[in-house]
Symmetry: D5
Subunit: 147 residues, 10 copies
């Protein structure tokens, strides 16, 4: 039975062979780069039509589209990440996490930023002292209810 | 000896008593809300002048400015956060962490987004289906060097 | 500075001294038993008016109402619980957690049951072979969005 | 030797192939959805007759019924769950666990809600602001004995 | 507010001062040694009358009886025990735990030995090659139910 | 090279195929049920003659008797057990472990109950309110020596 | 109530003040250095007479002898030790632990070296290339029994 | 590529088949039993000549001698050992570890016992109350240097 | 799909077969020993040309050069290392880590030593009392910025 | 009883009050900056004369010199460090640890770099693209011995 991990491997192999990148796959599927990449890595589901576009673009078997459309069980490591590129983001959440909570709740009241009704964008910003990575995240505010 | 934790307690007490918020403290110190809040929580150091402005605005003792200007040892919990407001951000880094690395390195080459030459902004964005939290992060790209 | 933990201690002491129970406190505050108890234990915030009713009913100092209305940082242990009454619930989530996900997503599509727009009720149900504990939980379904 | 994990894989494959869902399997076995799903996932045993109904409905080999009727060793992860659908339930037990104990023991005396003499139901409840997941759990109260 | 830990300390101090042992305290309370000791250590509650007998026998303040009658939150360490006397028991449960499950379920069917409707006795048994510790545990069998 | 785990699998397969139970295997080997089961699960070694009786009774290959007679490396999980049948025993050791130490050392002096010179028996005891599991453990007392 | 930790502190203070060392304390108590030191550190109990000799030699209060004669709960850290002097011993048990088991059981049969009927000695051995630490441990062999 | 683990398996198989023991292997290699056993288990390297003697004695392929002479990466579990024979040694290091440090540094000054310039011997000592395991360890003392 | 782990295995096999060492591989690639070794172990990427030199020198397949040039996900164990050669470095970072921070920030101000713009060299230094390992590390200082 | 932690606090307070830095304290004691700082932080012992110089320079009480000369128990956290300045060094040991072992043992044979006969130096090196932190470590090579 083909799994999401199998499909991720197929996508990586097709990427290397065809010399395409995530931006091109996302464009073929009419999706943002971040969401499309996360779905190809098995962390989100695609609508059947969108899954078909990814599979067509990369010449994968049809069953791969079925698998991309299934609802994933999201599993990620809870250990401190070791890869420096991911660790730096982890460090930022450690250093600024409490400030984030203070400011969100100061601006909105008691509640949270949704991680479900959520989107994110990553861009390269040219800068004279060295180009910068820009990440924009946006999530719906959800207030606590009492009853 | 007055510690950073002592000063954070003083700031919280003054905030409650005076009815000021983080945005007003940051404005008094000519700083962004995120950086100022993180420094008041003990996770960053302020320049002596800036520290003085915070202390004056909140009527804290002069020694508090000395402490705010000291270089902190940044200590944060590595356990999974339990507060829902902070957990949701943690969940986002778990779900999208690998996609972040894929896209940063696709756009820039082998390297990382700096967590030191870094800034962040949090805003409330009005939206008809419910207002949204927007977070913008920007860090300098640092390429690996060989030797 | 009076903390949520201080107020919880005051409430427990007043309960013991006055011989009142959680049901009576909740009734005085026009709240459900579960929500009111969780707020008294420091895991939720009360609206200022409601906080005042709790404080009046238990003859606590006025500052306690201010504290009950503050937004808590929810901290709970992530270790396996040892108290048998709480452990059994934990065991149930372990045994039935995957079935819960299968059935929620079969009935609703890819998404989650909200833990924010959520309520819960606990009742004693008479039964000839021994009375039963009944727990009813209700949370809004939140679908994942793509972008 | 066919294991419970093997049978779960067979059931998932048959579900996908035949396009049946958990509700239909449970109906074929005259069981509730929650109990039947948990047994198919290897967390409970079925009576031999009931196991036979599941196996017949899904056209599995006869040995699968023997395995479904065996007594399982219930193994589940004690780490914080990462899938958001399961995590939210985990968060609820963390936030309301102590309140649960307070109210059960206020209503019944010193003791616990059984996790063995126990049942659970999950329903979709229509709601104008968005449909809701409703979970009803019921367990026999067991008092502590002294001796 | 007097806690269970406070009362345990009072009991230990009174034991040392009066030179009484657990067997005598249990006899004064008309309880088994194991249950009485566990309650004095804060792991079980006593009925109010029984608590009064313990308090009278040891000349403790009346409030101690109230505390002994309260329902405890049972907290014990989940780390491997280091004291050799307790470790050996832990080792036994590790070496024979699976055999215990095999034999209980072979004799009774799918289910468990209750830890709530449960009693235990510890005796010194004279033996020519060295006296032996004998532990007898008895718990009600609870069968799983399907629904 | 045939391992203890291989032999345990062979024993389980032979048990299922022949329809014999642990009690019958133990009787064939002239051993108690608990010790024989633990040795078949790889946690104890059998004398060569006894191992031969188990192997003959279950029609296993001769090499299996050699393996059953080897000295095992006893490996068991130190995590909190999740199976409810084993967890309840674990809970009992947590709730009563300190009381066990208090009473053993009150009756014998400073020392321990041996886990090596040790035996255990598990029986079904008929009871009008529901049959009970009875566990009897006996271990030699070993006093600490000074030097 | 004076604890073993209190007495260890008293002994360390008296050692520093009087300028005596562990060898002299052990000689005063007619004990080996290792056992006497471990008892003073709270990891073993002394007979009342021996405890009295330690207390007399160091001019401690009489109650300290009562405490030294009590049966300790032996608590030690299960984390990897960080002090280099203790870590090296830990490393030796890691590197040679399996070889130890192989050779003990080759020489004696299935069983263990007792840690209760046990003694140890530490000596300085002069050596031309640098003096050496010599540790001699001796424990009774305990064979497993079947039943 | 043949690994150290492969060679350990070959040695165990040859031991069982030829009926030789560790003492005989060590004698063939002109090594102490402890060092030779530890090298055969992959925790130390042998000189090429010595490795050849082991390989010849056990009729292993020539490549095995190359592997026995390679420098190992020493990997051992940092969890509490579960096998009783190894656990007892672990317990001894926990109970007497601090006393060991006190006495080594009292006899030598600030420094450690080397685990590199180190040897160990294990012997069976006849004793009327039961034979004893004797372990003698010897390591060079290494003083700390300042600079 | 050939992975970095596969290529590391190929390099180790070629090293053993050809009898070359890391210094020779580094020389063939015009790289420092430390960087070249770390890249061969999968912890850094090589430029395509440099990767080709390594592959040519060791007669590996051409695809190995593609893999050596890919950007690695750096994964390393966060447990305490057990191999003594690596542990000693770990111990040094534990003993001197805080002093390192004190002195770097005393010399440079608030900030860090970069681990990205970084190089390291390892040399054997002859010494009459025994040769010494010398490690020289150099990293760019990165100051914190406020905003 | 004054502890090493007490003395570290005294030194930090005197540093702040007198406006001296670690370099000046080290110069007063005729020690390297790294060793002197580590001893002031409680991780190494000073000779009595040297300890006296530190205490004189900072006007601390005489007992502080006694404490600085005592042999410390070196305790450091084994968790992943969170402060970025220390984390970057930790990351380096993770990324380059295996390469370090490969190269040390290629240059010296089977053995380790001593962490006891060891020294370290930290310098600021001017550089046109930004000044650099240089760390030089030197430790005696210790070969494994067989026996």
């Amino acid at each position: 039975m083909m799994t999401k991990a199998d499909v991720t491997d197929m996508i990586r192999a097709a990427k290397r062979e065809k010399g395409v990148n995530w931006a091109e796959i996302a464009a073929a599927a009419d999706l943002s780069e971040v969401f499309c990449t996360s779905a190809c890595l098995g962390m989100n589901s695609l609508l059947p039509d969108t899954a078909g576009k990814v599979v067509d673009f990369l010449d994968l078997p049809a069953e791969a589209a079925v698998v991309l459309a299934e609802y994933p069980t999201k599993i990620f490591s809870q250990k401190v990440p070791t890869d420096p590129c991911i660790y730096r983001w982890y460090e930022i959440t450690g250093v600024f996490g409490e400030a984030f909570k203070e400011l969100v709740q100061e601006k909105f009241g008691d509640g949270i930023m949704s991680a479900i009704d959520f989107d994110m964008d990553i861009e390269r910003i040219a800068h004279e002292k060295g180009d910068r990575v820009q990440v924009i995240m946006s999530g719906k505010f959800l207030p606590y209810k009492s009853w």
